[in-house]
Symmetry: C2
Subunit: 305 residues, 2 copies
Amino acid sequence: MSGEGDFIALMRALATGPAARGLMDDTAVLNRPAGPLVLTTDTLIEGVHYLPDDPPEDVAWKLAAVNLSDLAGKGAAPVGCLLNYSLSGDGAWDRAFARGLDEVLGMYAMPLLGGDTVRMPEGAPRSLTLTALGGVTGKPPARDGARPGDVLYTTGPVGDAGAGLRLLQAGSNGPAELIAAYRRPRPRMAEGRALGPLATAMMDVSDGLLIDAQRMAAASGVAIRIEAVPMSTALVALDGESMDARLAAACAGDDYELLVALPPDTSPPGGVTTFRVGAVMAGAGLALMLDGAPVPLPATLGYEH
Amino acid sequence: MSGEGDFIALMRALATGPAARGLMDDTAVLNRPAGPLVLTTDTLIEGVHYLPDDPPEDVAWKLAAVNLSDLAGKGAAPVGCLLNYSLSGDGAWDRAFARGLDEVLGMYAMPLLGGDTVRMPEGAPRSLTLTALGGVTGKPPARDGARPGDVLYTTGPVGDAGAGLRLLQAGSNGPAELIAAYRRPRPRMAEGRALGPLATAMMDVSDGLLIDAQRMAAASGVAIRIEAVPMSTALVALDGESMDARLAAACAGDDYELLVALPPDTSPPGGVTTFRVGAVMAGAGLALMLDGAPVPLPATLGYEH
């Protein structure tokens, strides 16, 4: 398989809802109840956002997961997605990508609604775009609502994906859970829906805990102090818990946990894993206090686009 | 200007509606009334879908216009759009693109809601994606509803854009209206909204009158006979009206007129320009009858993706 028609036939198997019209039409037509619609789109470029030898199934997973994570940050449930796909001329790659997409869209119940398939000039890197639509009941949280006195949480440890990337770049293929954190991030959909209605501010941590916390502080017009860096058992086993290891975890990207500000009298709901990572205060900017003592901020707080 | 921040600042000037949240957030949040939402997305690749030396303003125009035309084919009004933009490293190109996008989005009242900006590896072709959302009152027309007895219309002449491309490729820069038809197609938004509620089938003619009529016939399970090929005065002045010239016009892409099937007792509404181009009949497939006599179909009916 290397033709557009063959790839579209694979996609048709993923586009079974009525809105997709069997991918036979120029557009998708979505019938949906009134209510806020959350829209997000992300592009992955081969060699920039993923490694050229990453398994195609994992590239598809990541493409969907980064968009799903943006929906999670708004407490939204997936409604559907559109795919812009550049044919590689490599049928096995295309088929593997289609398998990975089927897997991730099935896992998160996000139907494919439509898209566009293009051929690239010889030798050009793949360019893959997914646009996701989500629905939310009530008012979706923004990143600009954090207030002094709020308590800051994440929905999981940070640094695993960054360690996974580092291991892959060094030629290692384990530990498996760190590699999986990089290649198959798990967007926090259920956590987002549970925390969204309670949060004063919420966003996904895609570029690093410190840089994303700084963005939340700037958007909200408050100061944020990070007081803890939650790390997984696997990451501690690899890197230890030194100050350097904790700072590296706090600056690593691609984790896709949620960063959530809750009012001081609001506890995280039962059944949702959260880690207390800091506090919101009057003022501006980001500060770091670990083991009860101020720590200078690293020169680079995370991944800058 | 060459940085992502600078480009996003230009885009922010185009994203003034509340749904865009000033492009400060990871997502757009759209509050809209219930009703069908029409979704379409198109990717333009440098060197594949446009000429590398096309003016960037015109590339932006075309990127928006091809999506708007898909909305027009559904009788939809623009609600907003998302842009996936690959930074070129060429600030002047980026600024010119932003100007063209401003112009076309303003002309068609389609606000920018969000998007994603990426860097490409050195030497990679630009990859530009726009995703458009439209709203429609009532049931949007599909391409599969044409019935025997229907009359087939287009909203304008065909072949101008194809001639414009041919002229540019031959190093010519005129006649201006043919060049403009290629570089700045005018999606038929008002015509689509007027004709949509009356049409049994409707679609935009992006790949050529013959190939798109064949697609409508196949989707609808009917036969279509093309009986006339409307040509502009400028195209007739360039190519004449021979059978070859008419067949070339009927197979040319990029015109973005609408192809509309209306029931026999339904006239096109006043104020909407239409050309009668054929008839829908029982059976299957496409036939061509010009000057009252059957004409063999060309080997290639239009642009095949």
